[in-house]
Amino acid sequence: MTPEPTAPAFDSDVEAAIRENHPALITYITAGDPSLEDTKAYVEALDRGGSDLIELGLPFSEPIAEGPTIQGAINRALEAGTTPAGFFDLIDDLETDAPLLVMTYYNMILQFGNSEAPCASNSNSEAPRASNSDAASLRNEPTVGPFVERAAEAGLSGIIVPDLPAEEADPLRTACDEHGIDLVFIVAPTTEGERLDRIMSQVSGFAYVQARLGTTGARANVSTATHESLSRLSDYDVPKAVGFGVSEGDHAAEIIEAGADGVIVGSALVDIIADHGAGGAPAADALESKVRELKRGAVRGGDATTDEEQPEPEHP
């Protein structure tokens, strides 16, 4: 032990937040639902309530991985005029104990690159007139660099892209490495064999374990697929957090008991935001107390496993 602060125990803030706060609670809300000002207050409430990591959705109009609840949030955020620029301004302003991640679709990352790149974005006023015989390449390669650079500058610790398969992830993985940001991948109940290996070779921070087939949304009970998924992943070193369908403290307890390092809750929180309509303090209070319930559940589940497993030592 050296007296001065040294390199952190973990390579990544995200992994550290999970390991050091084991069992971890990861919360999600959509940025801009119902406004970016409200989001700021809500994120602070999630942080106060005991979230160990906070995912913020950057809204995209074609969210193919989401169920109706989060689609509704995304639509409200888009109607409120949420843009990547506004989103990053919000992140610039936020000061939380919990590291922040952005969850968005690959389109948003590429479009940000298109609009930032010096000559990539164009209206192609000449291109459409090119004749059939003109073999010149009319391709304008979009780039992921500008988005990752801006994310790092704003202080984001990680990125989750539900429609980016590991096979296509090399450019984003490289950019994230350059800027010291984690890239989280989702593992489904159907993911196994070669594809699982490929995902686990690309993932950093944590593996997002999807509890069941289908899209996001709060459900009544915890799936047995969770147990199977966790046992399939037990040989991999990265922390595992389980999401999709977690809405109550008891779910959180059950998932941690099944061997997860963390639980992810989104739709249940988005529901609270939707129920409070225009936002304000009551919504923030309700979020904070829901987060406390969920964190208590996770800890309860962790206590049940302490006989077999020694938890990570607490860091101050």
């Binding site: 006023s125 459409p128 489904a188």
Partner: protein
């Protein structure tokens, strides 16, 4: 082509839970669709049920007016009134062979939903159609048609209650029910294998047209023209001519014009991006996707078209609402054929090419009939 890409476009940009089902579907497609018995059965249904082959019609009045030889491939005469049935039959037969007993589909104006309902009834498959609430209200007749043929029409009330929301709802259903359900995608869009599978099922259009025009004129056409929304009728026409010295022209939904903020022309005025599971050309996020024809009203396009554009094989251009409506009227008056508003974009582009005088023989895919567009026509032309 490897990994389901077209020179870098396409691929499978989908959430992880959909990858395994897509892999299975690709495997089933490769095994079953190449099978002689499958091809014989499909051919039989295309003839007896759908009405193939469709005629190649020399539009003599239009040809005379513009001093060119204009030929129309009459997909509008198919059962259901559009080329959609070619693909619906192929995929439904595949689903049946692969042991699926349920079909789902998204639909905008209701044309693809109607085609899916037809084949669902024919092959005795439970059929559920996702359709935005707004579209359900606008397209009542198609909703009645689908229900009459036994399909369940599921009103999608989320989001903007339109086609994109119907796609989301159908994908959600597919992800949950992959074991017994086939998602019958309506165009050459989405993740692999859909773009190549739908292309193969639509290629019958060009294969027939190539034979027919050679029989008729002794040679190949100078140009082939089709409208492009998702792009299935265009790929279907082009594919058989891809190695030939035939110029390709794709007419996109130009909306209010190429420089406006309302169009549906991602090839002519978009950027490389990812949408609905594929890397392709997409309109910019600050453009409102808009076309007078519901079938072209789509922010992306099939990835094979993105490739054709990138390598310069096909020229894509937006045809404005106004130009398309003029062509709609002109073909009705000169030939006694009422084209679909989608196909009217191709007619408009063919007329422009004839006026330019660069090509002598022009083959146009008349992909659908205009009966469904009578209300729009009546309001635009004060009929």
């Amino acid at each position: 082509m490897s990994n389901g890409t077209f020179d870098g476009y396409g691929g499978r940009h989908v959430p992880e839970p959909l990858l395994e089902p897509l892999e299975q579907l690709a495997g089933a497609y490769d095994d079953i669709a190449t099978d002689d018995e499958f091809q014989t059965d499909l051919r039989g249904l295309l003839e007896a049920f759908a009405g193939r082959p469709t005629p190649l019609y020399h539009a003599s009045n239009l040809s005379e007016r513009y001093d060119a030889e204009i030929y129309l491939k009459r997909e509008d005469l198919l059962h259901g009134g559009a080329h959609k049935i070619n693909n619906a039959l192929g995929q439904a037969l595949l689903a049946k062979r692969a042991g699926r007993d349920r079909l789902i589909a998204e639909t905008g104006a209701g044309q693809h939903g109607t085609a899916t309902a037809m084949v669902g009834a024919l092959l005795d498959l439970e059929t559920e159609i996702y359709m935005g609430k707004k579209d359900v209200e606008r397209q009542e007749m198609n909703v009645f048609r689908m229900r009459l043929m036994g399909a369940e029409v599921n009103e999608v009330t989320r989001g903007g209650e339109g086609l994109a929301d119907a796609v989301d709802a159908a994908l959600e259903d597919f992800a949950k029910n992959v074991d017994d359900t086939h998602y019958l995608v309506g165009s050459v869009v989405g993740p692999d294998p859909f773009p190549r599978m739908v292309r193969d099922f639509q290629s019958v259009i060009g294969e027939e047209a190539r034979e027919q025009i050679r029989e008729r004129t002794g040679e190949l056409p100078d140009a082939a023209v089709a409208c492009v929304g998702g792009g299935s009728n265009a790929i279907g026409l082009f594919h058989a001519f891809r190695e030939d010295d035939v110029a390709f022209y794709g007419a996109e939904g130009g909306g209010d014009g190429a420089d406006s903020s309302k169009h549906a022309a991602p090839l002519a005025n978009g950027t490389d991006d990812v949408i609905h599971g594929m890397k392709t050309r997409v309109i910019d996020n600050d453009v409102d996707v808009h076309s007078v024809s519901a079938g072209l009203d789509y922010p992306g396009v099939g990835p094979e078209h993105a490739m054709f554009r990138a390598v310069g094989r096909c020229e894509y251009q937006g045809v404005t609402d106004e130009e398309a409506l003029a062509a709609f009227r002109e073909l009705s008056e000169t030939e006694g054929i009422i084209p679909a508003l989608e196909s009217s974009h191709a007619i408009a582009r063919a007329i422009q090419l004839a006026e330019d005088g660069e090509h002598e023989t022009i083959l146009v895919n008349l992909s659908g009939r205009g009966d469904k567009d009578m209300e729009t026509a009546a309001s635009k032309f004060e009929l």
